[in-house]
């Protein structure tokens, strides 16, 4: 009779998706991964690094994904966690100023476009948690339960973060409207 460990390994071997299928799914996900990382981190360079790191983590952990149908939720979670870790690390690292001649190219051009939109600016004023929930809800169009799965928070926490995000966004947008009307 097989031990539990042997059964686990056998199960992983028979049920785990083929690497090729996993790779194809990963490649197809890359655009959305980068988008999600961008909305969370707000910086293209950081988003690319986070996406790269998350995809590498996912590949290493691919055997734990036993149903390819669950890929999106699985990798979203890895990506969100990676982004959060990077934000923490970023606060531990001293920023080094770029040389003056590099400045025009160093500007995140997508971010600049984002900043010109009042909704974009309002999103930028949200906390990390609030922004993550908003992006998953309205950009990814996920249900609260799906967000709960991805973030590993109780449903109440997801609702709470979304509720307060709405309050902040509403206030920011109304303030922008008033300034435009002046």
């Amino acid at each position: 009779m097989a031990t539990a460990e042997e059964a686990f390994v056998a199960n992983a071997r028979t049920v785990a998706p083929e690497d090729d299928a996993f790779a194809l799914r990963s490649d197809a996900y890359l655009d959305r991964a980068l988008g999600l990382a961008w909305y969370i981190l707000g910086d293209t360079h950081e988003a690319e690094d986070a996406t790269q790191e998350a995809m590498a983590r996912a590949w290493k952990a691919r055997r734990s994904l036993r149903q390819l149908e669950a890929f999106d939720a699985w990798i979203d979670r890895i990506l969100v966690n990676t982004c959060r870790e990077r934000l923490r690390r970023k606060r531990l690292v001293r920023e080094v100023a770029l040389p003056p001649d590099a400045e025009p190219e160093a500007v995140d051009r997508f971010g600049a476009l984002f900043a010109r939109d009042s909704v974009g600016r309002a999103l930028g004023s949200l906390s990390l948690d609030q922004r993550t929930v908003v992006v998953l809800r309205y950009w990814r169009d996920l249900s609260l339960e799906q967000i709960e799965e991805r973030l590993g928070w109780p449903l109440g926490t997801v609702k709470s973060r979304l509720h307060y995000a709405h309050a902040v966004l509403r206030e920011r947008l109304e303030r922008d409207e008033r300034e435009v009307q002046r």
Binding site: D72, W74, L92, S127, R170
Partner: protein, 513 residues
């Protein structure tokens, strides 16, 4: 502007606004990560992206990435961006600076700023393998020095917290072993299957075994024979983890020990006097949540259904009572609502292992979810804080198992949700951290931003059953909600990990009563 208007604005914004497309460098790096270590090293050494980032030549990379953006939004292409915006105008600036900081002198700002500084000053945090800066995780990351340096052991002044080093990962589960060590499992990032042992004598966190699967936000309990049951959590597939594992302190290894039916999410466990373990959780079918209860038998490594809870409870607390029953308290009722708060339950029930049934008891005076329950030395159970479904509550209640009734037990000095509650050796209770949730706030103007939103707490307080009162004690250096807190054999309390809006923490603190 109504919530619907905000939703419309967001939906329209995301519909019209594209995101940057992956650069060729990113695609190459993703493929490279799938290759073997030697091939990956070869690619990495020749890959401008990695090499340049290590040299700090970020400008060149951004130039390359920036030129390759594909933006399909509001009719603008890459050429429509016009003049360069200042960095401070971009969302990137507000992210990096922390949104909380942008609200000026709000309470949220001052709290959110402090943890980063304290973590930044922690040498252990910087030494953590999981926090390396390599863009491509490499095998070598796993072979970094295996023991994270801890602080020199010293007992701080009474009623204070002192740094206790870094766990090396953001573990979510802590279990006191018979020999006084503390087992940490359920990492949220890095190596999700890693585990650490904390040695109170040396203050060191050292690696031990690896779980078969990730147990992020899972549960654990020390079994009667000294092994540890680790169960549940949300795995990185996004689903509920059904696998149970046993940690053997003698060998330092984990082994598989049965599994719950697929799809069952574990909320809480309680070790029964029989040696079995009561496991309670929820499962979703479509939009409907149901509660379930199972008994785990360590001898056979099997689960079997037991009883039926009288209510759907998401994240209740379980507390073993002196007579062998288990008190089940509160939790969210599991109703799905697109907007608004989730109702928190005031109801409670007890599980009787001799009959295998749940019976109503109580109820509490207030609905509570995210609360804490701690059995006192006299057998009563202290219930503190939580959310009533709308706002955080500061009130506390005492459950008397002999009468089956809850009575008010005063109020904490602050409302707390997702805090820790630890019975001290002298019979008092340490309440630490948690989250202040002001609930919906009627406000206008800039003040509104400063007033809304949850705030993670550094503060702590002591409940004294002799006086029935709460009083402030020293504060932690780091605000923590959902921290892991363990009473050590020497009477100190190890409070570790937890969250803030900036993410999970990997460091720990020691409370000296």
């Amino acid at each position: 502007m109504s919530d619907r208007d905000v939703e419309r604005e967001l939906t329209e914004f995301f519909r019209q606004t594209g995101t940057p497309g992956p650069s060729p460098q990113l695609r190459d790096a993703v493929v490279a990560a799938r290759l073997g270590p030697s091939r990956r090293r070869a690619l990495a050494s020749g890959a401008p992206r990695v090499a340049l980032s290590l040299l700090g030549l970020a400008a060149s990379i951004v130039l390359a990435v920036g030129l390759l953006f594909v933006v399909s939004n509001r009719g603008h292409g890459p050429g429509d961006f016009g003049g360069a915006a200042s960095a401070s105008d971009s969302p990137a600036a507000s992210v990096g600076d922390s949104p909380a900081a942008s609200v000026g002198d709000s309470p949220a700002a001052s709290v959110s700023e402090s943890p980063a500084a304290s973590v930044g000053e922690s040498p252990a945090a910087n030494a953590s393998p999981s926090e390396g800066t390599s863009a491509i995780p490499s095998e070598s990351l796993k072979t970094q020095p295996s023991t994270t340096p801890g602080p020199t052991i010293s007992f701080g002044p009474s009623g204070t917290f002192s740094p206790a080093g870094s766990m090396g990962a953001d573990y979510t589960i802590a279990t006191l072993l018979r020999d006084g060590h503390v087992l940490f499992t359920g990492a949220q990032g890095g190596d999700l299957t890693s585990a650490k042992l904390y040695d109170p004598a040396t203050g060191h966190f050292s690696p031990t075994g690896s779980t078969f699967g990730p147990h992020d936000q899972g549960v654990a309990t020390l079994l009667a024979e000294g092994r540890v049951l680790v169960l549940g959590g949300v795995d990185i597939r996004g689903g509920a983890l059904a696998t149970a594992e046993l940690y053997d302190p003698g060998t330092g290894k984990f082994s598989l020990s049965g599994s719950l039916p697929a799809g069952l999410g574990v909320s809480a466990v309680a070790l029964l006097m029989t040696g079995q373990v009561l496991v309670v959780g929820t499962t979703m079918t479509g939009q409907t949540m149901t509660s379930w209860a199972e008994l785990y038998d360590p001898g056979s490594g099997t689960f079997k259904p037991t009883g039926a809870l009288s209510a759907v409870r998401m994240s209740p607390t379980l507390t073993l009572l002196p007579d062998g029953r288990v008190l089940v308290v509160g939790g969210y009722d599991g109703s799905y609502m697109a907007e608004g708060p989730a109702p928190a339950l005031a109801s409670a029930e007890t599980y009787d292992p001799t009959t295998g049934r749940f019976s109503p008891t109580g109820p509490m005076k207030s609905g509570r979810a995210g609360h804490a329950a701690t059995r006192l030395s006299d057998g009563r159970v202290l219930i503190t804080g939580g959310s009533n479904g709308s706002v955080g509550v500061a009130s506390a209640e005492l459950y008397d198992p002999t009468t089956g009734r809850f009575s008010t037990a005063g109020s904490m000095t602050a409302d707390r949700e997702s805090h820790s509650s630890t019975l001290l050796a002298d019979g008092r209770v340490l309440i630490a951290g948690g989250m202040h949730d002001p609930g919906p706030v009627a406000c206008a103007g800039a003040a509104c931003i400063a007033m809304v939103g949850t705030t993670d707490l550094t503060s702590a307080e002591i409940y004294d059953p002799a006086t029935g009162k709460f009083s402030r004690t020293g504060s932690m250096a780091t605000p923590r909600s959902i921290p892991a807190a363990i009473l050590l054999r020497d009477g100190r309390v190890l409070v570790a990990g937890g969250f803030t809006n900036q993410g999970p923490w990997t460091d720990a603190e020691l409370y000296q009563p």
